[in-house]
Symmetry: C2
Subunit: 292 residues, 2 copies
């Protein structure tokens, strides 16, 4: 089974980790007249007519901006500016931003996603969690450092398991109360300290749907920038199809056949449910399951 590559994957810049702590190299890159700056209005990207990210020069940033080195491509350094916390910015995704992102190529989504995760993290880590004093940007934006106790802090990536329970050739899809009408998708939840992927899948399926997992198969992964998840997509065989839903989390759930999943993925008018959007890893997961 060759995984379909999910949205927000395919980052095509060289992250150049070895240059992040090299102050001379960073200074030269910031002065490079070919350096590019991702154009953002708050968290909203600008798009060209054919749906590509718009890049400007570093002179576009405000004087007190900090530059985060996204990476290098064709010898040109690519940055995003962190301009202190974006007032009133949505922490999570909005319908508007998702409509914009749906026009981007997968690779431009990946760059936007990494940039968004980083500026969001900087905006929520202006103070040291160890001593309460101010932190400053560190390692070309891939960290912050306390100005008093020198503690280093690194951007979070929060692992989330997302899975299709499978029984007798059918897969379980469910919906959360707040989702658009008709939308059903894979169940999901945050992995906790002390868990493997396989244990988190089993726990979440039992908590949310009351089903008991026998085996777990990893399928693919995706960075999800709202704000910074690592989605770990799996298929889990379960013992019995009887469901006990956790009503605060899962409003409804049912078992679908591969044909029903394919109809939903194709956007058929008569489909039993509305599939997750193409850039969500749940779409890749459902596609691979239905094709298997």
């Amino acid at each position: 089974m060759t995984p379909q590559r999910p949205g927000f994957s395919g980052y095509r810049l060289d992250r150049a980790d070895h240059l992040r702590a090299d102050d001379d190299a960073l200074t030269m890159m910031r002065r490079d007249k070919h350096a590019r700056l991702l154009v953002l209005d708050g968290y909203t990207p600008s798009l060209t007519d054919d749906g590509a990210l718009v890049w400007g020069s570093l002179a576009n940033a405000s004087v007190d901006a900090a530059f985060i080195l996204l990476g290098i491509s064709n010898e040109r350094p690519h940055f995003v500016a962190f301009e202190q916390p974006v007032a009133g910015a949505p922490l999570f995704r909005s319908p508007q931003i998702m409509q914009t992102l749906a026009r981007l190529s997968r690779e431009d989504m990946a760059i936007y996603g990494a940039a968004r995760s980083l500026i969001d993290w900087h905006g929520r880590h202006g103070f040291c969690s160890q001593c309460g004093q101010a932190t400053r940007v560190h390692r070309a934006g891939w960290g912050r450092k306390c100005v008093v106790c020198n503690a280093e802090h690194f951007p979070r990536v929060d692992p989330v398991v997302i899975m299709l329970a499978e029984h007798d050739g059918r897969a379980l899809v469910g919906r959360a109360p707040k989702w658009p009408a008709g939308r059903y998708s894979a169940l999901a939840g945050f992995l906790e300290p002390g868990e493997t992927i396989e244990e988190a899948v089993a726990r979440e399926l039992f908590e949310e749907a009351g089903v008991v997992t026998t085996t777990v198969r990893y399928v693919t992964s995706q960075p999800w920038p709202f704000p910074a998840q690592l989605m770990l997509a799996c298929i889990a065989e379960v013992k019995s199809p009887a469901l006990t839903l956790a009503p605060t989390e899962i409003e409804d759930a049912f078992w679908v056949t591969k044909q029903e999943a394919l109809a939903a993925l194709a956007g058929d008018a008569g489909a039993r449910f509305l599939a997750p959007p193409h850039y969500a890893v749940a779409h890749s997961l459902l596609t691979q399951w239905a094709a298997s």
Copy 2:
């Protein structure tokens, strides 16, 4: 290929997520005379003569301790106490603690690991990263909340990729400068915002060893409590065996046959290298690769 279950996996308590925000239930559990408290001296567990974790009663904790609900087993709530930052405690593993842990069952290692990750996280998050004010224990110890701005903070789990490059039936093992003499293991590194597992594997192998990945196969995962990693173990086919090592990270590396790996895993005196310890996911990974 049935994954060998790695150390620190197999948590056998019911995490009872639905009770964490239920103050009445928590009060009752803390008053329950059958409640158990994990006995720790700083970060060091006490062991029975036959190598099991020692549990005491909640009365053993200091008066200002906060109780973290590890979970429930046989109707008995199990807690660990957070007694404010452990002064001078090692943030990372020490030879002493690893010798102690090596005596534990895998399941007791899992409980210890989760407890250690949580108390370490509490100790380093006494202040709100958003506003710099004090935070307090929240959700039965599975979070902290700012007393001023009410921001919620959740324990970190940091994804790390750990992988064997594979070429022409051989696997790549390497060693970091600080490791015990003769020890070689899989290469590893932190996954970053905007990356899939597969992309992080390819990036780390190129950065550390100069090899170019063609395909990545996920094998297994492990929680690693020093301080709170999720180890994502993979095998990566690479194009060519020529190595360019990053000297600050990889002191030496070489390609091993399955026979050489099996000899090292068996602890043979004549083995080409010293294998990673049995509780490390690299041991499971090497074992599965050699058996495949």
